[in-house]
Amino acid sequence: MLPVTFLNLAITIMDENKSNTDFFLDVDNKPHQQVAAGLDNSGLKRTEELSIANKELAFQNEEKGKRAAELIIANKELVFQNEEKEKRASELIVANKELAFQNEEKGKRASELIIADIELAFQNEEKEKRASELIIANKELAFQNREKEKRASELIIANKELVFQNEEKEKRASELIIANKELVFQNEEKEKRASELIIANEELVFQNEEKEKRAAELIIANKELVFQNEEKEKRASELIVANKELVFQNEEKEKRAAELIIANKELKYQNKEKEKRAKELITANRELKKAEDNIRKLNEEDIRKLNEELEQKVLERTAQLESANNELESFSYSVSHDLRAPLRAVSGFAILLEEGYNDRFDDEGKRLLSVVQENAKKMGVLIDDLLAFSRLGRKEINKSVIDMTELIENAIRELSISMHIKAKIIVDDLDAVMADATLINQVWMNLLSNAIKYSFNKKNPIIKIRSEKKDGEFIYSITDNGVGFDMQYAHKLFGVFQRLHDAEEFEGTGVGLALVHRIITKHGGRIWASARIGKGATFYFSLPVLQKNN
């Protein structure tokens, strides 16, 4: 582009020069004509001078046009040179890149060569080491060769020695062969002698064995003799004892004989007495027979009368019993009602006293008051238990089929509300029974609470409940591993207010087992227990296997 602009600029310059020239010509011509019209000669000279000047100017113009064309050419030349320079510049850039690439390659090659040099240096060192090793090995080999040569020469000498020794040995061998033959002969002689000796030995051995047998037989015979002697001595001493015994028996017999004589006399006397008695009995029998005959004479009407009288008496007695029962009932009623009221007053007013006047009591006063309260409470429990016991006497038994296992599970649940159950209770699959569910529940409640109470202080209290069918009865049992009791007091277990344990140690009124006993007996069953102190107790009760309401 640049060269083209140059070219245009050159052309413009050239055109301006041209128009300037034209304008100059026009202006110059007009005044020249006007002047020519006004002046004559002087004007002609001036005209010639002007035309010379014009020619001069035209020449200068031509020169200028030539110069312009030369400038154009020169410009073109410059443009061309510039293009060449640019080409050359781009070629130089390419060449530079090529050089840079080659330099990098050389750098890489150089570093490779360095690595190769290092490798070569290492290999050379290795070769030198190997060479020095080889030199040492060569020296070693040379030394060994020398040693071998020495050894070879020694071996040659030794061989010669051996050859000599062999010759000597052959000589000796032939001498030995002769000696051997001599020995063989001697050996044969010895063997003959040896076989003779063996036969002689066997003879001796046989004789020895015979002697030993004989000796053993003698020992046995001796022992036998000793034993027989002992037996004889024993027998002798036994005979002495027997003799003494016989003497004693004889004495006894004599005594007995004397006694028998006395006894015989006695018997004779007794016989006489018996005969007398027999006579008396016969007389008595006769009298009895007479009396029997009299009784037979009593007629049936009399018997009927007697029966009626008896029945009347039974009725009277029953009525008496009923009234006694009623009396008992009203007694227990009044026990329930009349004993309670004063008791409540005792405990109630004691509490009011405590509440209202406590600050006026010293410690001993407070203690005495608490003793009053405790005992009032205890008496309340006693009354409750006693009432339950007496109420049971009047209660009708109402039998139904009882699922014992279920009943016990309910009882345990009920108990766990009022007491802490620490024991592990194992209940077998129990036999179902026909009985009064409320009462049997009471039985289990009492037995369970006892078992729990008396095993509470054990480390791992366990209570097991089982049942079995035996001889027409179901036998239920409850076993604990608690404190147990002394079996010599077992007969007191089921009495009212009987206790086998200290009230301080185990709470209770002594009514529970009496109640259980009463319930079981009312069902026609039995109750018993077995125990060991410190090992636990088992309570058993039986209930008859019965039909419904039988």
């Binding site: 329930s336 409540r344 007053a345 109630g348 007013f349 009011l352 309340g380 009354i383 009432l387």
Partner: protein, 147 residues
């Protein structure tokens, strides 16, 4: 003892003076009841309720809100009183709570048959007794909506 215009909240019929005192103390303790009339036997209770004898002329509109009745009493016993209260138009709407020492089964049954509203066995232990009487007062005087 003629109370004509004083409102009677509780009529306590109880032969044991000491039981009565304990009950009254229990009822007064938390201000459950202020006006308690205590009578010692069934005959007096009937006179009071029907305005006879000693209580002739008593304003009979002044009815107790509840009657606490002991069963075993001299002269007229509790069951007889109960029978009369429940069979008379004048008194049959008054709630009667039988309060007794007896757990005896026939008593309970008889009392309910005659129309007792409640049957409470007095606990032997005074603390429990006090609580029972207190609860009774709260229930019949404060919670129960009379006719």
């Amino acid at each position: 003892m003629i109370m004509k215009n004083i409102e009677v909240e509780i009529l306590l019929v109880e032969d044991s003076v000491h039981d009565a005192e304990l009950a009254v103390r229990a009822l007064q303790k938390n201000n459950v009841a202020k006006h308690i009339v205590h009578l010692k036997d069934g005959a007096a209770a009937l006179d009071f309720l029907f305005g006879t004898g000693k209580y002739k002329g008593r304003n009979l509109d002044n009815k107790p809100k509840v009657i606490l009745l002991d069963l075993k009493m001299p002269k007229v016993n509790g069951l007889e009183v109960l029978e009369k209260i429940c069979s008379n138009e004048l008194t049959k709407k008054i709630p009667v709570v039988v309060l007794t020492s007896s757990k005896e089964h026939p008593d309970v049954e008889k009392a309910y048959q005659l129309g007792a509203n409640s049957y409470i066995v007095k606990p032997v232990d005074f603390e429990s007794f006090r609580k029972v009487v207190n609860d009774l007062g709260i229930y019949w005087l404060l919670l129960n909506q009379p006719l």
